[in-house]
């Protein structure tokens, strides 16, 4: 079953074209890793899927919803959860309140049930004991795990990770990728923009290399990482793997 489909997507910021005709199909349960240099358009692609950026051409379908249609685009948020590089937790709310806000206000679930679901979501990321802590009292890794719980609580069909570990100290990366691995094993459909090549190789079903706003190459990780056919991919991988 097709979860996400991008057809010839074009996206520009003023005169700068960032996506130059992207086609991508993601099946249910697939873990797709997106790699590419900074400015290549990989984050923009996730943001387009999640209706955070309007597109200038092409089509974006998520679970049958036309995200390119402004009238229906907001429906996508029922099915897609997103995790950001900067966590973007709400600083004035506790961890639990971050997780339950949308349960109460969007899904109209009563406070008691929302609390139960919120605690359950925090348990999935191993942070139930931090339910009453404010974001400022948590480490970066813990904040990002709360952010994952906030998305998971809404039971999304797809999770988007936009450089979820890039802002973390190196020793905190593992706790976040650990949660992401577990999600992948549970069969979550995932699109992951990352620079963690070890994670990409282990967890990814497919790796997509984006170069200058286009998909330059895609394939299973063991092939793409060891024997890339596109010279641009070879260059990029050489640079990141031999830093």
């Amino acid at each position: 079953m097709t979860m996400i489909e991008l057809k010839n997507v074009h996206k520009s910021f003023d005169d700068l074209e960032v996506l130059k005709g992207v086609d991508l199909v993601v099946e249910k349960g697939e873990v797709v890793i997106i790699i590419g240099a900074s400015g290549s358009g990989k984050s923009t692609m996730l943001r387009v899927i999640n209706n955070l950026e309007p597109i200038q051409g092409g089509e974006v379908w998520v679970k049958g919803i036309p995200v390119h249609d402004p009238k229906r685009a907001d429906e996508v948020h029922q099915y897609v959860g997103m995790v950001f590089q900067q966590f973007n937790l709400f600083p004035h709310l506790t961890a639990l309140a971050n997780v339950t806000l949308a349960l109460k206000k969007v899904k109209k679930i009563d406070a008691q049930e929302a609390r139960r679901m919120g605690i359950a979501a925090l348990e999935r990321v191993g942070l139930e004991e931090k339910a009453d802590a404010y974001p400022a009292e948590l480490s970066g890794g813990q904040q990002q795990r709360v952010a994952i719980a906030r998305a998971l609580a809404l039971e999304p069909d797809v999770m988007l990770f936009d450089e979820a570990t890039s802002a973390l100290d190196p020793e905190l990366v593992g706790e976040v990728t650990g949660v992401m691995r577990q999600l992948a094993e549970e069969g979550m459909t995932m699109l992951v923009v990352t620079h963690e090549m070890g994670f990409a190789r282990d967890v990814g079903d497919r790796v997509v290399f984006i170069d200058e706003g286009q998909i330059a190459e895609e394939g299973p990780p063991d092939i793409l990482f060891t024997a890339p056919s596109n010279p641009r991919t070879q260059q990029f991988l050489y640079r990141v793997l031999h830093r």
Partner: protein, 216 residues
């Protein structure tokens, strides 16, 4: 006679004090409500409202409050609107003027909240209104409170202009006392002291909030 004359007029002064306070509090409530709505809508960049809100802001920020007050008071009379007494005219003028200034405080406060907060809120499905209500405004409060209280201090003193259209606030009542017993220096010292008694505690509050905002 000396200061005794002023002491004997304390009833009149008290009336002026109460009237100044009433006008100030009413303006704080209405001006803040207006400023909040205008500031939020301007920060949200609603296309259809962009020009009208900008015109409102620039007109009321860019002309003297005294002129606005006189315009509204005499304008109402010219239009034959009966029952627009001095209090109402003063309140309307003050609300429009202070509301314009306060809207800029809210707009700046809202825009100080990082963009990622809005994106995260959209991603979990909150509506436009819910994003402002539950995510942006609570974070705006700590940012806007110190400048807001500072604006209120200015607002209390701005109510003195209502004397020009004949509203019996502190300055007007002081004039009435001077007309009766003279001694303008002493009377104005007392009037000034009363304004100070209202404003100084607010100034202390503003300073405290500022310290707290710095530590937050």
């Amino acid at each position: 006679m000396g200061w005794q004359g002023i002491f004997d007029s304390s009833g009149i002064l008290f009336t002026g004090f109460v009237n100044t306070l009433t006008l100030s509090i009413a303006t704080i409530v209405l001006g803040t409500a207006l400023g909040l709505v205008v500031g939020t809508l301007r920060a949200a960049r609603v296309p259809a409202l962009r020009a009208p809100l900008r015109i409102y802001l620039e007109v009321f920020r860019g002309s003297p409050l005294l002129v606005q007050m006189l315009f509204i008071y005499f304008g109402a009379a010219y239009l034959g609107l009966r029952g627009v007494e001095t209090f109402i005219a003063a309140l309307v003028a003050l609300t429009l003027y202070e509301g314009a200034l306060i809207s800029e405080i809210f707009r700046a406060g809202i825009e100080a909240v990082p963009r990622g907060q809005r994106e995260a809120a959209r991603s979990i499905g909150l509506s436009r209104f819910q994003i402002e209500r539950y995510v942006i405004l609570p974070q705006t409060v700590t940012i806007v409170l110190p400048p807001l209280v500072g604006q209120y201090i200015g607002l209390v003193k701005d109510t003195a202009l209502a004397t020009a259209i004949g509203y019996f606030e502190l300055v007007r009542e002081g004039q009435a006392i001077i007309d009766r017993i003279g001694m303008p220096i002493e009377v104005f010292i007392v009037i000034g002291a009363i304004y100070f008694v209202i404003c100084y505690p607010m100034s202390l509050v503003a300073r405290r909030l500022e310290k707290r905002a710095l530590h937050a």
